[in-house]
Structure formats: C-alpha cells, structure tokens
C-alpha cells in the first residue's frame, strides 16, 4: 500500500473513532464564546433538607468529612480544607463539585439539619467541563478517568489529524491553491493576536 493511501486510511479511521470528542471540542469552544462572563450562572434547581447532627467538639474539617460520608455525592470529591467557608449566618458552607454541577450544603447546626441545594450545569457547560478531563487525575472517579483516557486519545488524534491532513493536502495531485491562502490567513491572525498579547 502506498504511503498516501495508508495515511488517508488512518486519518479517516482515527476521525471516526474520535468523532464525538471532536464535536465536543467544538461545542466547548462555542460555549466559552457565548458565556456572558467569567462566572457561570449558579441557580439551584432543587432544595431539600436532611436531618444531621454535628458531633460534639468536631472541627469544621471533621464535619465536612461526616457530611461527605453521609451524602456520598456521586462523582464528587471531599471539600478540600482550604475551601471550607461560612455563610453570613456563620453556618458551615460546603460545595461538592462534579462535572454536572454543585451540591451546595449548609450545615444548620442549631436545627440539626443539612440544607442541600442542587445546582445543575446546563448541557453545554457539562460538555465544556468534560472536554478537559484527563486520565492523570488519580483522585478522579473511575467513570471520569475512563472518559479521560478516551479524551486523551482524541487529543493525540487531533494533533495527528493536523499532521496527516497537512501531508494529505501536500501530497495530493491537484492541490487547491485556496488552501494556501487559508493557511496563510489563519497563521497571520494567530501571529497578529500573539504579538498583541506580548
């Protein structure tokens, strides 16, 4: 098999094997473009209460660990020590993040309850977050790491598409001259913006 035919096959098959991820990269870019500001909207879609009694003389860190053990929020990790906060009423505030949003928990010590707000990311934000997953985060849940593995393969494929696509174009019999103009335009825009930032 000629080299060009082989490269074309690999280009096509790798594209088919990572089609969903490539589309998600595009969606992530569009979501970031249309996001109205740095902060995403955080609107609770549901609020519920759960009985919970804080152990005597427990530190905030221990309370946070107890709440995490009690709720066991899927795909979320314990709240790190540096992220323990208090509300205006001095109640302990715990945000358990995952790719879908936040479980915002307020520990209401006096009424022996947890107030749990469910803040769900829109589908676009979910796809935007998941496009950044990698398998190297040892503490990530298994499902996210599995996705991260596939995502990393797609990342390498994206670079592969660039190299193989360039080769396929340059080795084609009837090269389209317009493509040179497009490549030069893209390079010029990137170079100009790069210099503007430097």
């Amino acid at each position: 098999m000629r080299l060009r035919a082989l490269v074309l096959k690999v280009h096509i098959y790798a594209g088919l094997l990572t089609f969903t991820q490539v589309m998600i990269y595009g969606v992530a870019g569009l979501v970031a473009t249309l996001q109205p500001g740095l902060e995403r909207p955080k609107v609770a879609r549901a609020v519920r209460y759960m009985p919970f009694t804080v152990a005597l003389s427990a530190s905030d860190k221990e309370v946070a660990a107890a709440v995490y053990a009690r709720l066991a929020p899927p795909l979320a990790r314990p709240v790190p020590d540096w992220f323990l906060r208090r509300t205006a009423d001095n109640d302990l505030l715990l945000d358990f993040y995952n790719v879908n949003g936040i479980w915002r928990v307020v520990v209401l010590e006096s009424s022996h309850q947890l107030r749990i707000e469910e803040i769900r990311n829109r589908l676009g934000y979910f796809l935007s977050d998941i496009h950044a997953a990698t398998p190297n985060d040892a503490g990530a849940p298994r499902l996210v790491r599995l996705w991260g593995l596939y995502n990393e393969a797609a990342m390498w494929c994206l670079l592969g598409f660039c190299a193989s696509g360039l080769y396929l174009w340059l080795s084609a019999a009837g090269r389209e001259r317009w493509a040179w103009g497009c490549l030069a335009s893209g390079s010029a825009v990137l170079a100009a913006l790069w210099m503007a930032f430097r």
Binding site: L16, L17, Y25, V27, G29, L127, A132, V144, L159
Partner: protein, 193 residues
Amino acid sequence: MYKTLRSVHLLLASACLPFLVLYGLSAVQMAHGSWFTMKPSVRDSALSLPPGLTDARVVAAEVTRRAPAARGELTGIKAGADDLTLRLVLPGTVHEVRYQRTSGETRLKTSVGGTMAMLNRLHHAAGLWHEPLALRLWGWVVGVVSAALMVTGATGIWMWFARRSERRLGAVLLLLNLVVAIGLLVMMRLEGP
C-alpha cells in the same frame, strides 16, 4: 457534491490548522504538566503615582500611562486600609500592582510566561465579554474556529460515507465511538445533581 465537501473540509482545516495545533499542544501540556517547564520570568519595578487614589480603574490607567507595557484586563482588585492591589492580565503576562494610597508609591511585578505558558493561557482565553480589544477579537476567533472544527468533522463523516470501500469498517468504528463516548457521557450526566 464530494468535491465541494472536500474543498470545504480542506479550506476550513487549513485556515484553522495553526489554532488546532495550538489547542492540541496546550492540551498535551495540561495533560502532562511534568513534561514542560512553565516557570515565568519575573521583573520588579517601582512607579510613582499621585497619592490618594481610591478607584482601581484610575490606578490601572495611571500605571499603564507611566509603563505602557503594563496593560491588560483589570482583575483581582483588593482594597486594604492603606493600599490597593490589582492585576492587569493578558494571556501569558500578568502585571501585579501594589499601590500605597498615602504616598502614591507603586510596586509593579510583571510575570511573563514562556511559549508553553502562552499556549496554555490562549487555550483558556475565550468569550466576547472582555474589555481589551485583542481579547475580544480572540474570543471571536475561538468561536469561528470551534464552528469550523465541527463543520470539518461533519464534512469528514460525509466524505467517509461516500467512500464505499471504507464504509463497513468505518461504520463499526463510528458506532463504537458513539456507543462508548455517548454512553459514558450519559452515565456521568445521570449521576446528578
């Protein structure tokens, strides 16, 4: 039809090629941080501003007037009892400003990242809401490249389908991708909140 789609695929991909390489390389850097050195070069300097300024925007404008290279998006404003700190940020470059209100003395700390740091910051820069014009333009470019990437993918699928010899194995690969990827996404999405 095939010829038109091939032209669209080629022209969009060639226009976006520099950006796709940027996103690909920076993704590798983020996935394998230990492979790269990201230490920025840091420079300190002193400026003398009028005393008594309370508005961070005025302080930022005064800093840029005296040191034109110190420009960017105004963020991280913190007002203390006698001082005001702020940051002027552009992808790859951060200017940290500490202004003493009583004396007007100002410290300017500039951190400039290397090429990989710049790629990393450009990967994260997006949106049309920024104040600096260059960042807004970059936001438009990100939107156009993202849309072009999706069209390139879609035309690629169409061209594959038009090639009878690749259809059977290709269908298996595409189905595998759709089932595994969408399956994983749905499983994650169902976990809540």
